[in-house]
Structure formats: C-alpha cells, structure tokens
Symmetry: C2
C-alpha cells in the first residue's frame, strides 16, 4: 500500500505545551490534516463571560496571535477593561486583555444563543484563520476539580489564583460521567492514520479529555498507532505543576510514570535523551520508547520534535521534507 499522502492526524492537547508542540506539527503536515481535541476542564466564567483557556491558547498560538512571552493571551493586547474593573475594586485575579475579552464576548453571545461550544470554537477558529480542525473534547459541562487540604478548588482557582502550590490529594472531573464527546471526536479517532498525545499534563490536561465517556474506549480500540510525547523531562515538568502533582497522587514523576497512566492507550512514547534510562520501564507498560531531544526552544526544535513524533506514528518518513 502507498503511504497515506494526506494523513489524518488526531492530537489530544492541553494548553501552552501542547500549543507549542502543535506549531511543529502543523509545519510538518499538509493543511487540514489535523484534528486537535482540546481540554475544557479548565474552562471558567469571568463576570458571565465563558472562557476556554486551553482552546484559546491553541487557537491563538496556531494563528500567530499568541503572546509568546507568556504563552497565553493575545500579543500586544491592552488591559483597559480589567484595569478599570480592578480600579473600581473588582477582584480581577483572572487577567484578560481587551482583544481577548472581545473573543470571549463573541463566544459567550453564541453560546447564549444556543450554539454548542464545538460550533462556536469552529467559528472562532475560522474567523482567526485556523485551517486545521480544533474541537473541544465535549460540548457538555466538564470541570476539573482539585481536592486539596484547603478543600475543593476549581481549576483556575487552584492554578492561577493560588499559583498551583497546593498539594493535590485527588482530582475529579465534574460532569464527565454525563459528558458526551463533541461531534466528530470519536469519528476523527476512528478514522485517524495517527493519534498523538501532546506533551501536556496527563492528569489535568489530557485527563479531562480521557474522562469524557467514550473517548478512552475509542483510544483503546484505535486502529491507528498512538504516540504520546512525555511532558516530563529529567523528573520535572517543562511547565506547570505536573511533576509535583504526579508525586502527590502516588505516581512516578517520570516518563515511565506517564506511560503507566497511558497504558493500553498508547503504542509509543517519545522521551528526552536525558531519560534514556527509562526505556525499559516504559516497555514494561507495553509502550515502545523513542528517545530524542524533546526540548522546544525555537521553531526548529518544535519541528524536530513534531517530526520525530509523526515518524514514530508512521505518518511521515525520514525522507519527507
């Protein structure tokens, strides 16, 4: 059989780390080859505005609107609205720029008009010029709740407001039992030539996606190879609290600890050179390790990691340029 000329690739994605990885992926694939299944467990409302931070980070990053320095928000945005709200005494702890608020206004209006989040996301993506398909894992309400010594915290209270310093005792996904996959998610997984799990926190970025009923099962029954990229390098997360969270919940903060979480779901895990000693432990979870340089510091390194991942998935070859 000839190699698939326009492969269908599905990427399960969290926020900043996934978005940077996806920059490499889109540069390695033809337009419209990609379906990105995004996390909505960290969605929130600010003054009634519906905000989908992970979807927005992916969208802004892939359409060159992102504030690269922070990794989130819109480049060169102003802060007139939130500064005014704060000056009036509002507790403006979740920072939003004015252009970003404009997107949230559009999203919220459409949601209130009765459109599903997936339809709203597709509209926003089309308006910003995204050629690939970005879809929330579910249109239903799904919220990540962190159980800590100070009680249950919604995701953004844990992450932004309290600076993800609370040891996490348990993670719950409110609504997951009743959440159905958004239209197209299961179909994209079933039809994929390759499935990729981005280097995102397995517990709070990929976890909510896998908690949507049917998605984990679709991955277990996958027809295509599934490749995960380890978000843990040398015992630490490249960004965010993944390492501490893995440890506080009794997992290894290592690529093999992540492989254990993904056992049965992935065929290959891309790990960093510094973790080459983990290879056997990863094989012990039925996962084939691929060892390479996974640090993303510029466009070239993002492309290199994406290419190594897609090669491991069998949808690009070393001869492709």
């Amino acid at each position: 059989m000839p190699r698939v000329s326009v492969p269908a690739v599905v990427v399960l994605a969290g926020g900043v780390g996934a978005a940077r990885f996806l920059q490499g992926v889109v540069s390695a694939l033809p337009a419209r080859a990609l379906t990105i299944v995004g996390n909505v467990g960290d969605d929130l409302e600010v003054a009634g505005l519906h905000i989908s931070p992970d979807l927005d980070t992916v969208l802004y990053t892939l359409t060159n609107n992102i504030d690269e320095g922070r990794g989130w928000g819109v480049r060169d945005d102003t802060n007139h609205a939130l500064e005014r709200a704060a000056s009036l005494g509002a507790d403006a702890w979740f920072w939003l720029g004015d252009l970003d608020i404009g997107l949230h206004i559009a999203r919220t209006e459409w949601l209130r008009d009765g459109h599903d989040l997936s339809e709203v996301t597709a509209r926003l993506a089309a308006a910003l010029g995204l050629e690939d398909h970005l879809v929330p894992c579910t249109d239903d309400r799904l919220r990540t709740i962190l159980v800590t010594a100070d009680g249950e915290l919604d995701f953004q209270t844990y992450y932004v407001r309290r600076g993800h310093r609370d040891p996490v005792l348990e993670i719950r996904f409110d609504g997951a039992a009743d959440a159905r996959p958004a239209p197209g998610v299961l179909e994209a997984i079933a039809a994929a030539d390759a499935i990729v799990i981005a280097p995102s926190n397995p517990l709070i970025s990929i976890g909510p996606i896998l908690a949507v009923s049917g998605i984990r099962e679709a991955l277990r029954e996958r027809g295509a190879r599934c490749v995960a990229v380890s978000p843990i390098v040398g015992g630490e997360a490249l960004r965010g609290p993944a390492a501490d969270m893995l440890r506080s919940l009794g997992h290894d903060a290592s690529p093999s600890g992540v492989a254990a979480l993904y056992e049965g779901l992935v065929d290959v895990m891309v790990i960093d050179d510094v973790d080459s000693a983990q290879a056997d432990a990863i094989r012990g979870h039925g996962v084939q390790p691929v060892v390479t340089d996974t640090i993303m510091c510029d466009a070239a390194s993002k492309q290199r990691l994406a290419r190594a991942t897609l090669e491991a998935a069998g949808v690009v070859s070393a001869h492709d340029d």
Copy 2:
C-alpha cells in the same frame, strides 16, 4: 421656621436628559443632599455582562467620565474588545467601550457574588467619586417591554437596535408587580424636603420607576412638594422618542399631556417659555405651571433650570448663590 440648610432632595431620573439636568442640580445643592432614584427598565445583558445604561449614564455624567458628545459611555474610551468581537463575527449591536466593559465586569462579578444591584451601584459610585446617593428603583428584575406591530421588543432592541422607529402600541414592565423598592428609596421619598421628576421620558424612563410597587403610592402620599420638569418642549422631545411614543399611545405630546400622566403625583411642572399657552391645561390636572427657559445647552443653562426647579420645590430661594 428657618429654611432647611441642607435640604434632602430626591430626583427620579432616566438617562441622558436626566443626567444633564442633574449636573445643574448638584451644582445648586450641598454635597450629599441628593438621592437619585434611577431607572433599571432598560438594563440588559451583553454576553452575560449586566449593563445598567441609565444608572451608568447618570454615574458617568456626574463624575465627569461621560462622553459628552454622545451623552453615554466613557470619554476617550477605546473599542478594542467590541471591535474584535465584531471582527470575529459577533453581532455587536450594543456598543461598549473597553473602560465601560471594565465597569460591567465589576458590576457583574459583584452581582454574581450575591450582592444586590443597589449595593453594587453604591460601590461603583463611591469608586468613581460620586458624593450623592444613586440608587436603582429596585434590586429586583424589572424590564421594559415595548409592544409593536413586529411583536414584543425588549427596551434596547427597540431603542438601540431598531433605532426607536417602531410605533409603540403598548408598554409593559416585566417583573414590576413583584419588584420591591430598593433599600432606602421609600425612606428617601418620605424624608425628602423636595422631590423632583427629571426631564425624562415619562413612559419609559420614569414609568418603570413608578411601576415598582410602593413608589407611586409613596409619591401620592408625599410630605414634600414634587416638581416635574417637562421633557416635551414645543411638541417635541429634546432627545429620544417621547413625543411619538406619547402620541402612539393616545397621550398629548405636550407638557399638559405629561402633567396628565403625573396627575396626583406632582405639585408643580416646569415648562418651557414656548409652551406658556399650556399653563391653564396643566392647572387643569391640579399641577401648578412654572414657565421658564428649559433648554439645556451648557453648564449655565443646566444650572438655571435646576435652580428654577429647586426654587419651585421650595428648597433654594432666589437669594441663594
């Protein structure tokens, strides 16, 4: 008895016309003499943000934040958020500047935290430096509905979106039957040395205030003199659709038509020189006319009208400076 040195004055107020009149009133009274009872019948939600256009117009005007040219919104505001929303395809028909959105974010957060609109309004007023008391007529949900040939329209759809061109067949105030006066409203009316009805549309600016159960009765049983300023001059409204609306609902578009609507509630009506022939008709409604120049074109004319009104109410004398 000596004249009251710091009179307690209550003004029932709509939006732009009332706000401009109130600029004159505050210049004629000591600080904190004034309680402004504002209309909330034209409140709306935009993308979940709670907006109180009439309260905001009064607040922005009296704290020197108003865009004088338009009469609403914040001076020198930017439009980054709404322009982005519109560029993404949102139907951004109710225009909001970025600083204005900041205020709506603060208001909406506080309302969602369980604070009443009157408390939220007091916070916003204090933060912007308003020394007088601005209070919504009710903390409960009250919405002005215009019945037209095209069906029932909420206020802002009628006024802003459709440019107040639809002939109005009927006006309803949704929620009025169950709406209770906000804390302090009835007390302020009972304790007032003078009550003033600003030159606002009697049907859709003052009407919602009077529709709150108990407020009309409190005015009927007033201990203080009540003076209305006619919003109709020479058969036309100085701003907005009051004249057409009065006619389409079978009222006279004249000061005496307004006096008929206020019969039993007001003792005096201030009318413009051009309407001096209306004096007898106004007396026929049990209302004493005061004829003067009511056109507000600058600070001096606003002060002159306010002073004439407060003199008619007996709380300032021609000898006060």
